[in-house]
Symmetry: C2
């Protein structure tokens, strides 16, 4: 199915791409080799800026960004200064937010403004939105009036909304324009953006009525009006839509680029798939960090921020553990007369906690990807009930037989089996119902579900096991 | 910064996009409304195929795919048959793998082959690779020889590799061809693909030497050779590269499309950003499911598969819990003479487990996104040590004071404080070191890390607390 144009066999410099020295500094997974990074760091220690420049020059901007992330915090400013003109706007745009702050602090505001002015609006906004207010002011003041207006406009939209991540540089045309007119226009207007993937067809009010992929334009005779080439059906992104929703639309409709419209439906910007890739990754990766209470979870985050985010979670966890301890304390007499209870009780709580976490992970992912909606909630709960019941029976049998045999006490075996079965079912039900309720209440199900679920599985684990043990008169 | 072409004010049908009936069936998060889904299901129950067709006709293919996922398993085949020609190849391509199997089972092999033939190779492969071998044969036999060869070729590459997800339809040209020649060629060759975003420039051996974005071609005069328009520096994807690595390259280099090359460096296909979006989401979402032992974690997975994946994990967990129980059993005498130990010991284990999970989540994400490499491993371990120490001290003080006060036993308070501090540090260290070692051994750190970490934090929690209690002579 490959289509190609036959080569005419002259004027080539074959294999040129393969001789790029970039390849030598990357390992098989396309990451910077540690030997290479060490070499740069050694030069930094020796203040050998010339050698640093030579080493870094062949790198792609994305790799220079990685190099900064792999450089100790105190040396980042020094590296930025050593790189001179290699320290381009694109490098700055691709760097981790926390690492970027270190670098910007080391660069004069004038240079930061120069770098920001070279960027497309979305990247410039990403850099400027993280600055302190006075630094923001300083950078904005240096920018030209047009850039400043565009960036201030972007900053007026909510954080993490389409308005923050869109580009304003785009190409729009009326539907009566012909393919030939468009091509002529694009050739003469040198001030137009060169980075666009679709032409948006707009009405006289600048409202999008269709899109043309550039490939369709290239394949169409000059005389045809764009209105006959365009696709009318399109996904318009409201400018205040949350970036997570934007990412979901790109995935759902397999978009390469999409028009962003304001409240009146007028075209104000464009978002392209390359801007979306890291948002999808971030949003999908966030759930795991939130479920485990690890905050932002960025390894470049200052230690104090990581400490604050995580310790809050552990304090909450201390609270739920104390509830469980309080339950155990009610059974003090039983435990001191039958130590086997103390030996076995953590098993019931632990298995319940794990079963709950499994269901929680599945439910949080299904909610985040819009696979679990109101239409199939009842079905999903039933599904988890069946899974939990079958797992509960299996684990209860193993644990019950094991405990009964080991302590030569079949009733104790029956007690732990019953407690495990019930706790796994409770875990499964709370693992699906709690995040669904939080989602229905417009809360992020990943943030607080696991505290509730662990509290329930711990407490119920001890209560069921110790309660059944006392009730069965084995103590 | 917006560039646009002024409208010339005639021939418009404004607001046409807004009158698309699609909008009415979607909620504010762009998901199918449950009322709408119920309506379709009611028609299915009444076998009112005409009404179903009318209801579904205005939907985007991605929404039809969602409708199938929201339809009970037994009704999916019925819905597919009711939709007739709305059941297009694109719908099939966008449907969840498990749900697709239900539908394919309901459709005759001839229709499946017809649908597969309409698709681009990557989508056709995604459908066919999931079929049973005899079904695969049946479908392949019906396809034309060219399509069959392309799909068989794709199936010869490893699962989840670039060769499986690439499209073979692409446009390649020699660097001596001019912009004008290319445009003329594209206009006359009706058999060429209409879906492409870049033209690949190849040498006589069909090795890529550069790429041209279509926007650059559109903005360049006819007489200029493509060699002067193209960008030489490009990211070539080896055909056997794992899709996770492909996704990382798209993110790292902000790619819209990339050339795929075989072992000899010849151009064999193209991967575009829209194919990558769902892979990024899947791969990032997978970690949370793996860390919690939830297997594939797809809510459309058959219950028996979910049961198998998850119960295996709970059995392993039962094993680690038994090790912890064995440790507790060694301190039976201490516990029966001082029940407070049984009351407090789960706190130490639980806090350790949570601290370990936090570090694990951060480390697994950092490894998956190539942020944690050999160059900064030592630094990352030190970082986690500092975070763990500061959290350990904080939680130890709270828990120690609380326990000492509540049990009016300051030594008991000191014992639990020391045990918690040590266990949080152990948790932090194992939470970073274990996944790093697994990654270095080319194992997926998300799959088995948490079993090891939980085993360590549970066992050490009980051992430290009970051991210190006995050693301090408070029992």
């Amino acid at each position: 199915m490959t289509d190609n144009i036959q080569s005419n066999n002259h004027g080539f410099t074959p294999d040129e791409a393969e001789t790029l020295p970039v390849i030598e500094v990357l390992d098989e997974d396309n990451r910077l080799r540690s030997q290479y990074v060490d070499q740069v760091h050694d030069c930094l220690d020796e203040d050998d800026n010339e050698q640093i420049y030579r080493l870094v020059q062949p790198l792609h901007t994305a790799d220079i960004a990685d190099l900064f992330e792999l450089t100790p915090r105190d040396d980042r400013g020094k590296l930025a200064l050593a790189l001179g003109d290699l320290m381009s706007a694109d490098v700055l745009a691709e760097i981790n937010d926390y690492v970027r702050e270190d670098i910007i602090d080391a660069l004069p505001a004038g240079q930061v403004a120069d770098l920001a002015a070279q960027l497309e609006t979305d990247d410039a906004v990403a850099i400027i939105e993280d600055l302190e207010e006075d630094e923001q002011r300083a950078v904005l003041d240096i920018l030209g009036p047009e850039d400043r207006a565009a960036i201030e406009n972007a900053l007026s939209y909510p954080e993490e909304s389409a308005g923050r991540i869109m580009q304003r540089d785009l190409v729009a045309a009326p539907e009566t324009m012909t393919v030939g007119q468009l091509i002529d226009y694009l050739r003469v207007r040198s001030d137009l953006t060169t980075e666009f993937w679709e032409v948006f067809i707009v009405d006289p009010h600048y409202k999008p009525i269709g899109t043309c992929q550039l490939s369709w334009i290239l394949r169409t005779p000059r005389s045809i009006p764009l209105g006959d080439v365009m696709k009318r059906d399109q996904s318009l992104i409201p400018v205040d839509l949350d970036q997570e929703e934007v990412a979901l639309r790109f995935q759902k409709y397999s978009l390469i680029s999409a028009a962003v419209v304001d409240d009146e439906g007028r075209l104000v910007g464009v978002i392209t798939a390359d801007d979306i890739a890291h948002i999808i990754s971030e949003e999908a990766g966030e759930d795991i960090l939130r479920l485990s209470g690890a905050g932002e979870g960025d390894i470049n985050e200052p230690i104090i921020d990581s400490y604050k985010a995580r310790v809050r979670w552990l304090v909450a966890n201390l609270g739920t553990a104390m509830i469980a301890s309080f339950i155990i304390a009610q059974f003090g007499a039983a435990i001191s007369s039958m130590v086997a209870l103390a030996v076995l009780m953590p098993i019931v709580a632990s298995i319940g906690g794990n079963a709950g976490t499994q269901t929680l992970a599945v439910t949080v992912r299904a909610l985040a990807t819009n696979q679990l909606t109101q239409s199939n909630t009842i079905w999903a709960i039933k599904r988890e009930l069946y899974v939990a019941l079958s797992m509960g029976v299996s684990i209860a049998i193993i644990a019950g037989l094991g405990a009964g045999y080991f302590f030569t006490n079949p009733i104790l075996g029956a007690v732990i089996a019953a407690a495990i079965l019930c706790n796994i079912v409770i875990a499964g039900m709370s693992g699906v119902i709690i995040p669904v309720i939080l989602d229905r209440l417009d809360q992020d199900p990943a943030v607080s579900s696991s505290i509730f679920v662990t509290m329930i599985t711990d407490s119920m684990g001890f209560l069921l096991f110790l309660g059944l043990a006392v009730a069965s008169n084995i103590v």
